[in-house]
Amino acid sequence: MKKYLPILAAAAVLLGFGASACIKTESEIKPIEIKPVHITLDINIRIEKALDDFFADLDEL
């Protein structure tokens, strides 16, 4: 039995390497949701323009 121990150990190591090569891992990267930020920026730009349209000539006085 002791004679076969090194052989068994080597076989176990080789089996481990083989198993890791066969194991498939899948990782899913979820896309970053940027829509809310884009919408917020768009609204702010429109608000700025609306305020400019009203106050521009008043600010020039």
């Binding site: 429109r46 608000i47 609306a50 305020l51 400019d52 106050f55 008043l58 006085l61």
Partner: protein, 142 residues
């Protein structure tokens, strides 16, 4: 008699209908006119350090300022008109009065005269200073 009655009823109905028909543009024009009328006095109060522009887009009396009743009324009227404008913009753009006010406050800070009191976004009262506009790298003299 019937004709006279019909005319009377029509005139009576018109008297109530006309104010409703007035467009929002007329209200905006009235607000703008009042703001223009108030502006010189507001500028005087700002230069004196009695009032400043807060971070919400409204005029605010400084802590130790001694304002006359007429000046307090002027500030109140100005803020009321500003709020009406912010409400109209907020309704049109689907935002809130507060948010529109904050954006207007940012515009006011960028245009403030040197020495006028302005409240920054952190709530601290500071005096406006002239800041040179940043020149894009591609337009700088080499």
């Amino acid at each position: 008699m019937k004709k006279f009655l019909a005319l009377s009823i029509a005139a009576f109905a018109l008297a109530f209908a006309v104010p409703q028909v007035l467009s929002a543009a007329d209200d905006a024009a009235t607000i703008k006119k009042h703001m223009a009328e108030r502006k010189p006095k507001i500028e005087t109060l700002k230069k004196a350090g009695s009032i400043g522009e807060n971070k919400d887009g409204y005029l605010e009396a400084m802590k130790d300022a001694k304002l006359e009743d007429a000046d307090k009324k002027l500030i109140e009227d100005e803020n009321k008109d500003r709020k009406a404008v912010y409400a109209a913009v907020a309704k049109k753009e689907g935002s809130t009065v507060e948010h529109v006010g904050e954006i207007r406050a940012r515009q006011i800070r960028s245009k403030a005269a040197i020495g006028d009191y302005i409240q920054n976004e952190e709530g601290k009262w500071v005096k406006a200073t002239a800041k040179p506009a940043a020149i894009p790298a591609d337009k700088q003299d080499k």
